[in-house]
């Protein structure tokens, strides 16, 4: 028996200016199957799904969706409303939830008449509770969504789609914000829903979960579909090769003996505005010539830790010392002066001033330097010479060092920041999610630079949500959970996963 087709994408293409996001992509989804859409960051997975859902209008191609009777009908493109009506539900990586209203309102938003004088909340609630009972997607309905946990918010997102009778569910990187254990729960929920007749596309770049939970795999690279296979025929090496086009570049790492401590945090506590920023009695020593990896689920205090080391937050208690000297009232300027180089988590928001030139962004941390200014006036020739030199040395490509930095691609912005940081030969480097959103080549280059800095004698704090990255680069690994830091006794992936989840290790 041939499985029933519920969705076909035919020849979808999309350009953003000079960038080709999708090039002639075709896909088929069958009823009751889980299709994994696999690819590197920037391979065009999300763009493809945004076209399916009507957020983007494709430049070419068409989409057909099975209606309630199972007959394929063309889908009008560029209209989220039409996609919703056709039974397509999408759960974005960044949740599309209003935090000031509760889950019930978020779920029913848009499916009830706007102008009715009374809302039939009782009926809506009964229906949602029915869906929860069938799928196991538990979430509190009456609390403002702002107070829910990440996992609960994701369940609300899925409930939103199911409430609208979605027959096809698209999940964009659903596990990025979950612990391995939460992810397992999610996948068993998905299995229950699929058994109920739902068809699922899930987007991922994690080979492991794709192999474990999908029925079929489609691989995208540079906007093109480069392969498709049943999961039973796939293995890790095969699909990794498809994703990157060649064998994954492995970063070579030598063993070197660590030196003297360059960073000491002693009993540092931060009472942040949110849990993301709070730290409880964190002590951490980072030595010269070592990379310390900080693993953890997003939102467990990573940004609090990073802000302390970057000088953006003054701890409420505890001391921060760089190279043995305590830093009183840390500010970003004092940390830079003490020899700390910082690679920020959000490179567009904190790393560069997009409207200013590449050259200016390269000197923004050293405005007191007499090479850069004299008597308060900028030495413009020195600034552009410096920029030209760094652009060559660090391979920063773009429309020139005089152009606004926002015109650079993500990878080149990161190279700009690396150039700025490494050029000062920092004693300590804070690398917060340094490869997030970069393609594998650019990510490997970042890893290489970090190892070079380590060989040169720097100590490095590597904060990453990508456990593989930490396992590949770090000499010692800590796990951050609820604002507390614990050294991992092993480099065993499973063990660290349990620690990240807060299950005793």
């Amino acid at each position: 028996m041939t499985p029933k087709t519920v969705l076909t994408l035919t020849g979808l293409s999309k350009r953003f200016g000079p960038v080709i996001a999708n090039d002639d992509v075709s896909l088929t989804l069958h009823k009751g199957e889980v299709l994994a859409l696999l690819g590197e960051n920037g391979a065009g997975k999300t763009t493809l799904m945004n076209m399916l859902f009507g957020h983007y209008l494709p430049d070419a191609g068409r989409v057909e969706v099975a209606d309630a009777q199972g007959i394929l009908e063309p889908l009008p493109l560029g209209h989220p409303q039409a996609a919703l009506a056709a039974g397509i539900g999408m759960v974005h990586q960044h949740f599309a939830l209003a935090e000031n209203i509760n889950a019930l309102d978020n779920i029913t938003l848009g499916s009830e008449p706007l102008l009715a004088l009374r809302r039939n909340r009782a009926a809506a609630r009964a229906r949602i509770e029915g869906i929860i009972a069938r799928s196991g997607l538990k979430a509190p309905l009456d609390v403002p969504v702002g107070q829910l946990s990440v996992g609960e918010r994701q369940r609300v997102e899925i409930l939103k789609a199911l409430y609208r009778d979605a027959r096809i569910l698209v999940l964009d990187e659903p596990t990025a914000v979950l612990t391995p254990q939460e992810a397992d729960t999610l996948f068993s929920n998905i299995r229950a829903m699929v058994a109920d007749g739902l068809s699922v596309i899930f987007i991922s770049h994690k080979l492991r979960e794709v192999l474990a939970f999908s029925d079929r795999i489609a691989v995208l690279r540079h906007g093109k579909k480069v392969g498709e296979m049943a999961t039973t025929e796939a293995d890790e090496a095969k699909i990794a090769r498809m994703m990157v086009g060649a064998d994954t570049p492995k970063v070579a790492r030598d063993q070197i003996a660590a030196g003297a401590p360059v960073l000491s945090l002693t009993n540092v506590a931060v009472k942040g505005r949110s849990e993301r920023e709070s730290l409880e009695h964190v002590s951490l020593t980072v030595n010269a010539r070592e990379i310390v990896g900080i693993a953890g689920i997003s939102g467990n205090g990573q940004s609090g830790l990073a802000r302390v080391i970057a000088g953006l937050t003054t701890p409420d208690a505890g001391t921060v010392a760089v190279d043995g000297a305590a830093i009183e009232n840390p500010t970003p300027a004092r940390m830079v002066e003490a020899g700390v180089g910082r690679i920020p988590e959000d490179r567009h928001h904190e790393g560069i001033v997009g409207a200013m030139s590449v050259a200016e962004n390269m000197v923004i941390e050293r405005l007191d330097d007499p090479d850069i200014q004299s008597m308060g006036l900028l030495r413009r020739e020195a600034i552009s010479e410096n920029a030209a030199r760094l652009a060559t040395a660090y391979d920063v490509r773009g429309p020139g060092v005089g152009a606004p930095a926002r015109l650079l691609s993500g990878g080149n912005i990161q190279k700009l920041i690396l150039a700025r940081v490494f050029e000062r030969s920092p004693r300590l480097i804070l690398a917060n999610q340094p490869t997030r959103g970069l393609d594998m080549g650019a990510a490997a280059a970042v890893g290489q630079r970090l190892l070079e800095a380590r060989a040169r004698g720097a100590g490095i704090v590597l904060i990453s949500e990508d456990l593989d990255e930490i396992l590949g680069l770090a000499d010692r690994i800590f796990v951050i959970r609820d604002g507390q830091l614990t050294q991992a006794p092993t480099t065993e992936r499973e063990q660290i996963g349990l620690m990240m989840a807060g299950v005793a290790a």
């Binding site: 957020h55 983007y56 989220p80 599309a96 209003a98 938003l109 008449p113």
Partner: protein, 314 residues
């Protein structure tokens, strides 16, 4: 001290407070609607002027009082639509656009007034709204004079508080407006129009603001003067923050402000010999700043306020 107490328990004082609060109630509600949907409307000061001028002129031209109210609301809505186009689909700076609307609306009103009445030194008067005299209720002790001897526009303002509260709290439209001011993607993902909701809220909010202006020329006074709005719009922008974007608290804030203003007028007459009168005139503006400073840290701004949203850019 007993003087102050006498003022605070007098019926006429509270009647005056509610009267002074009326234009502010309209204004705060209007600003609240716009900001709940995520758009700051600094056009408010100019829209007050437009409402005052158009409402009054319509009546002067023979439209009747309610006709004037309608004209004022429509004029406010038109300027609101302009602000909506500039700030929502075009996503321009809400600060600058709003100030531009205020300058444009004010100069357009003044020009129209001057062109219609080139050579008058004192503007022609109209027969304004009279206090509604409701049998029985008006004769109630205290509440009678305070509540039931106000003009119809004050009643309309109180009704609007209820209406805005009901819409925001009890209808799907209200949920959508709150959601679009918190996270436009949440609305877009559910197939509702972010642009439509935001523009609609701005247009409706601006119409309310214009009614605040209309109250000035059609109820508080009986003619149009240059400079008569005198910063009331800006006060509303401060009050809406003080009110934490809640209609009930907005009413409370406006009446509190009205009471303070009424109090300064009375204190001025009693203590005028001791203190320069301007101290009292300044007080309401200073009070607004104090209210803003107190509220600023503790309130939750609508998360998407001031952030433009473009279709297809997530």
């Amino acid at each position: 001290m007993t003087d102050l107490l006498n003022i605070l328990i007098s019926e006429s004082f509270w009647a005056a407070s509610l009267r002074i609060a009326t234009p502010l109630i309209f204004g705060v509600l209007g600003a609240l609607l716009c900001e709940r949907a995520g758009v700051l409307n600094l056009g408010i000061e100019g829209i007050f002027v437009v409402g005052a001028m158009c409402g009054w002129m319509a009546v002067w031209l023979g439209a009747g009082l309610w006709g004037g109210v309608l004209v004022a609301a429509c004029a406010g809505a038109i300027f609101g639509l302009l602000h909506a186009i500039l700030t929502v689909p075009l996503g321009l700076s809400q600060h600058v656009s709003g100030l531009g609307i205020t300058l444009f609306a004010t100069s357009a009103s003044y020009f129209t007034y001057r062109t219609a009445l080139p050579n008058v030194s004192s503007p022609p008067r109209i027969e304004p709204f009279q206090a509604l005299d409701i049998p029985v209720l008006s004769d109630l002790p205290f509440l009678g004079p305070v509540l039931f001897q106000q003009t119809a526009l004050t009643w309309l303002a109180l009704l609007m508080v209820l209406l805005v509260w009901y819409v925001l709290q009890r209808t799907g439209l209200g949920v959508a407006i709150k959601a679009v001011g918190d996270n436009p993607d949440s609305v877009d993902a559910q197939g509702l129009s972010v642009y439509g909701l935001r523009m609609g809220a701005i247009v409706a909010g601006s119409a309310l603001m214009a009614l605040g202006g209309a109250f000035l020329t059609m109820s508080a006074f009986d003619a149009f003067f240059f400079g008569m709005v005198n910063g009331r719009g800006w006060v509303c922008i401060a009050l809406v923050i003080f009110a934490g974007w809640q209609p009930g608290k907005a009413l409370f804030g406006a009446v509190l402000f009205g009471a303070f203003d009424a109090l300064q007028v009375r204190l001025q007459t009693e203590m005028g010999a001791l203190v320069p009168g301007q101290i009292f005139l300044m007080a309401p503006y200073i009070l607004s700043i104090i209210a803003l400073v107190i509220a600023a840290r503790s309130v939750d701004y609508p998360r998407a306020l001031l952030t433009p949203w473009f279709k297809g850019q997530r």
